[in-house]
Amino acid sequence: MSLLSGHHLSCSKRDRLLFDDISLAVEPSDVLYIRGPNGAGKTSLIRILVGLSTPDTGSVTYRDNCIRSHYDVFHHHLVYFGHKLGLNTHFSPLENLRHWCKQHQISVRDDHIVSVLDELGLVGLETLPVSSLSAGQQRRVALARLWLKNHADMWVLDEPFTALDVQGIALLKARLVEHTAKGGGVIMTSHQDLALSIPVRELALEYRI
């Protein structure tokens, strides 16, 4: 049974057909890598797959249940990482993640969040406002969700490697491998070449005029 699958999806924005009749499926331990030039519709596809936007035609299912009618089950098992990081710049990384965990019904203690942040190379920055962190550091804070939501078996990541340094990329890749080893599925977009130690499937989107 596939984790997340899209059936005959199509989407158009401002009278331009981005993609048409795309079907995809992510099995447990699967990494699906969506490639394509700027404007090809990668982000639109990702947002349709997590349920933030609706496709023009087609449907998305999580474990064979339509995500429209079972969104609570699906979202309970999902981590979404988008272009917008979802961090309030007035709050500190610790406060941001604490609120996020509570809203996503993850019970963690503060010292666990701090240890995850430390693992991500943010030692000493836990209680500063997010606005005072660099772009890469802010992305690391947002990525900490992948370490905190352990019961999530589906990750949907939109360009997770952007603005990360070499060490950050290595950390994230290691985490991806760990996640798939546990049977989790990943859908991601990226412009970098993925050199993962696990097999990766690719889906290429083309820019249509």
């Binding site: 917008k84 710049t89 007035h90 809203q103 019904q105």
Partner: protein, 222 residues
């Protein structure tokens, strides 16, 4: 473990506290309008008493419009709203909690200030009681209806002007009933009817607004 909605409520209040300088802006506006009015139209006690309730209501309306944008805009722009929509919580409840936190942090201070302002405008005690009653019932309507309009305009670059244009016509009936209740109180007449209509408007807004706002937010995400 606290319920996700309670923790959202706490988060919004904590955020409001962190941004208290920004929250002060509508309050200052409210105070300034009402202190400038007696200077503008002359300090005659009868004149002030006549225009007072209307002035307070109009000022409350406009200052609530000033702070309305804060309801969803920041969360929309930084992506917190996306994460919230993917948290598995019902979006209608999320909206209701956010509106409640917003009302508590932006409108309640206005109500707390209103006794002093009533003094400025020479309102009698009966008028003041009816004014507070209409404000208590009426300002949540502003927040609830405002939430729909904010959700609709949140994706736009310059949503503020559109927001006021959308909302002011809807707020006019509320203003008419509220000021007529205070006028009735000034003449020592019963004003249960006006209050009843405002309460009905409030219940209607409470029932419809969360679902409509949730829908508008989903459309804005598209």
């Amino acid at each position: 473990m606290t319920h996700p909605l309670i923790s959202l409520f706490q988060r919004d209040l904590a955020l409001a506290y962190k941004q208290r300088a920004e929250l002060l802006q509508p309050i200052m506006f409210f105070l300034l309008v009402i202190t400038l009015f007696p200077l503008g139209i002359g300090p005659g006690p009868e004149t002030l008493q006549k225009v007072g309730p209307g002035v307070i209501w109009v000022a409350a309306l406009l200052s609530s419009l000033l702070g309305m944008d804060r309801l969803f805009r920041e969360d929309f722009q930084d992506g917190s709203l996306e994460q919230l929509m993917l948290s598995g919580a019902s979006l209608s409840w999320v909206v209701l909690v956010k509106v409640a936190a917003h009302w508590l942090s932006t409108t309640l201070p206005l109500l707390i200030l209103s006794p002093i302002l009533a003094l400025f405008l020479n309102l009698t005690e009966a008028m003041y009681v009816s004014l507070i009653a209409t404000l208590l019932l009426g300002t949540p309507i502003l927040s609830l209806i405002g939430a729909i309009a904010v959700a609709l305009t949140v994706g736009l670059q310059r949503g503020g002007v559109l927001l006021s244009l959308l909302l002011l016509p809807i707020f006019i009936p509320l203003l008419i009933f509220a000021t007529s209740a205070v006028d009735a109180a000034a003449l020592s007449l019963p004003y249960n009817g006006q209050l009843g209509i405002i309460a009905a408007l409030f219940l209607l807004a409470l029932a419809l607004s969360p679902a409509a706002t949730a829908f508008a937010l989903r459309v804005s995400q598209n």
